[in-house]
Amino acid sequence: MIESLAALLGLGAQDPAFWMPLALIVVFFAVVVAGVLLDGFDIGVGCVSLVAPPALRPRMLSLLGPWRDANEFWVFLGVGLFAAAFPYAWPQILGRLYLPLSLLALGTMLRSVCFEWRLRAPSEHQGRWQFGFGAGAVLVAFSHGYILARVVVAYQPGLGNTGFAVLMGGCAVAAYSLLGAAWLMMREAGELRVRAVSWARRTLRWGAVGAVGVSVVLDFSNAGVFLKWGDGSHWLAVGLVWGTLLLCFVLTEMTLQRMISHSYRASALPYALVLVIVLTVLGGLAYSFFPYLVLDEMTLWDAAAPVATLRLALSAVVIALPVALIFNLWVYWRMLGRSRPPSPPDFRP
């Protein structure tokens, strides 16, 4: 497949102008996936903290504390990499996403600042900062869904497309809330878990609407994508994707029901299932789009910077990777399972 693609572009597979953009888009996709997986529960907990009883909110937010520093950076890394490696895609993509990207940036800003400041504020004002964090999370989640919907319909204007984008924005809020609630029921017992189960049950179906909606609209709004999945040779993959989605949604629903009526065993199962759903949808989207950044309009090679700049970008990635691995990724190793309280510091006279 690589050879045929390279031949199609009139480049050799060894040519840097061919493989460097490819490598960088893989890194970019990895950053996006990492952002959704590792920052996703953070956004979700923020969303559901708005409907949580005030007494539970401080605990919910402090559960996020250990990963805040690392989580803040995913969106920055994605934007920086996209600027350095694919500057010529900015007019076609960012220029058409003015509204959702503004919401995304303002939401991210609220989230970062409110989280850091809520503990430093006088106690009677801490509720405001907690609210700001939740509002920021909702803005971010909504804008993710909105962006996804716009990208999927190739930025076509029209009332229907805007309506679809708003619907997907709402579904993204639901999906992130589901992710956050599923994470909470794995982390904590007691009242928080009971509430998390009920939040998850309410958001699950809207999450499903989002996952199915985005896939179906992408399929039917673009002939190339439809042909890619529906030409008959991929029936196994198509079956596997839809089977996985269906199975995961049904199993999540059953697990949640079981948690209400019987027991709290396997409390990590919903979180794992939701992650599988998110990964499947993201993987399917990436496969559908490849090699386009804007469907039928701009491939990743059209958008890529010249080879000298790409070389700079790749070396920057090589520098950033160890830092990310050592200082940022290892903090995630305790994000699964029950929460452990910190040990008190050693007394030093």
Partner: protein, 444 residues
């Protein structure tokens, strides 16, 4: 794009840029001041006390500047979509490097600086604080390089509507970048020093001063004067470099109404744009044209020749005067404060009511000075995004005015709330001391 859409886009962009620059400067200034405190903390208890309080203020300003920078970077793409198409080869790597530098230094050192003072040895912690100051400077450098490059595009050639990098070294170190960085750093030191004095004045009004307050008061007074002189010299150098390159800015600053030999600079005037002359003017020094390296006989392009490619006259004219006036006022105030401080034996408890008010005033004037100076730099380069070649109008967004209004209002609400929060937290910390916040990796 329509005029309204253009103004709305510009307001949004300048609002974010101003916000980021203000807190970046403050962060930069505080970072180096903190490094100074930390260096002396081993020997003097006063420096350690000062460090402990001001590191919290540093954390507050750092998070604001950092969080707002995402909006700024995204607006580069959403408000000015054509910009990356023209200058992507220059701006893309610069944005990427700024993100990468911030990422590396924040991951490696910032956590250790804020949460690791008890676990690290004194020498290691000093090193970490130094590295944070260095990292902040480096991050600011990339941003300043981009801003300077937009004023004077060196090191890149324009072909077929796109800029291509010819020489990265010239682009990064040549042009206006070094001087502009100096202006930012001096401005940051000025902001940090005046803020330190203002907060100390307020702190000692409600409780007796400690050794930390006295040391901040004594050193802050000297730092204000030093930073002010440094910034004035650097800004003058910047002006001398910049003016010969931008005839439209010269014409608006003088103001030069008609083309010909350089008109005499006015110290103050009321430029009447409809009649193309000054309603009244106070003439300035005669030798100014030679001082900024303009040819004495001209010809110099006048405002009549520059229709459509010149900045708004009043804003450019007034902002330059305002910056000079504020620098002078601040210098007088700083000199007076230094003398009073010397008379009081550098004991902030002895400050009078007027003295405290004067220190507060200095902090606000310093912030206003930065706004006027940077405002002049940015507004004076209109209507160009990249001086002389790419105008903002041709790269602007086609978003509808309604959406632009909505986002601008939302942005004002968010910025306003966060600024109010910053002020409130600063007052709270001043009143009750700092709140220690612990962070445990992997546990909650």
């Amino acid at each position: 794009m329509t005029q309204t859409a253009w103004v709305l886009s510009l307001s949004q962009f300048y609002l974010s840029l101003g916000f980021v620059l203000c807190f970046l400067a403050l962060e930069l200034g505080l970072a180096w001041v903190l490094f100074g405190f930390r260096l002396f903390a081993g020997r003097s208890q006063a420096a350690l006390l000062a460090y402990r309080f001001w590191v919290r203020v540093f954390a507050l300003s750092l998070i604001l500047g950092f969080a707002a920078s995402l909006l700024l970077v995204l607006q580069l793409g959403t408000l000015w979509p054509g910009f990356m198409d023209r200058a992507g080869e220059v701006a893309g790597p610069l944005v990427g490097m700024a993100v990468l530098t911030a990422f590396i230094f924040k991951s490696c050192f910032l956590g250790a600086m804020l949460y690791g003072q008890r676990t690290l040895s004194a020498r290691a912690h000093t090193l970490v604080v130094g590295m944070v100051a260095l990292g902040t400077s480096l991050t600011a450098w990339w941003i300043v390089v981009l801003l300077a490059w937009m004023q004077w595009p060196v090191g890149a050639t324009l072909s077929e509507g796109r800029y291509h990098v010819a020489d990265w070294l010239e682009l990064l170190g040549g042009g206006l970048a070094p001087v502009l960085f100096g202006v930012l750093l001096a401005g940051g030191l000025l902001l940090a020093a005046t803020l330190m004095l203002a907060v100390t004045a307020w702190r000692t009004e409600i409780r007796p001063s400690d050794a930390g307050d006295r040391s901040v008061y004594a050193w802050g007074l000297r730092l204000v004067l030093l930073a002010l002189v440094l910034q004035a010299v650097l800004a003058a150098t910047l002006g001398r470099d910049l003016l010969p390159l931008q005839p439209a800015r010269v014409a608006s600053v003088v103001p030069q109404w008609t083309s010909g030999p350089p008109a005499r600079l006015s110290l103050a005037a009321w430029p009447d744009e409809s009649r193309q002359h000054d309603a009244w003017r106070l003439a300035g020094p005669p030798g100014w044209a030679a001082w900024v390296h303009l040819p004495a006989e001209g010809p110099l392009r006048g405002l009549n020749d520059l229709a459509g490619i010149r900045p708004p006259l009043m804003a450019t004219y007034v902002s330059a005067r305002l910056a000079v006036l504020l620098t002078g006022t601040l210098a007088v105030l700083a000199g007076w404060a230094l003398w009073r401080g010397h008379r009081l034996g550098h004991e902030p408890d002895n400050l009078s009511r007027a003295g405290r008010a004067g220190l507060w005033l200095m902090a606000w004037l310093a912030a206003l000075l930065q706004a006027a100076g940077w405002g002049h730099l940015l507004i004076g380069s209109l209507p160009y995004a990249i001086q002389g070649t790419v105008s903002l109008r041709e790269i602007g967004t086609d978003a509808s005015e309604g959406v632009l209004w909505a986002v601008l209002c939302l942005q004002i609400v968010v910025f306003g709330a966060l600024l109010a929060g910053f002020y409130q937290l600063l007052r709270h910390a001043t009143r009750y001391g700092v709140v220690p916040v612990a962070r445990h990796r992997g546990r909650a």
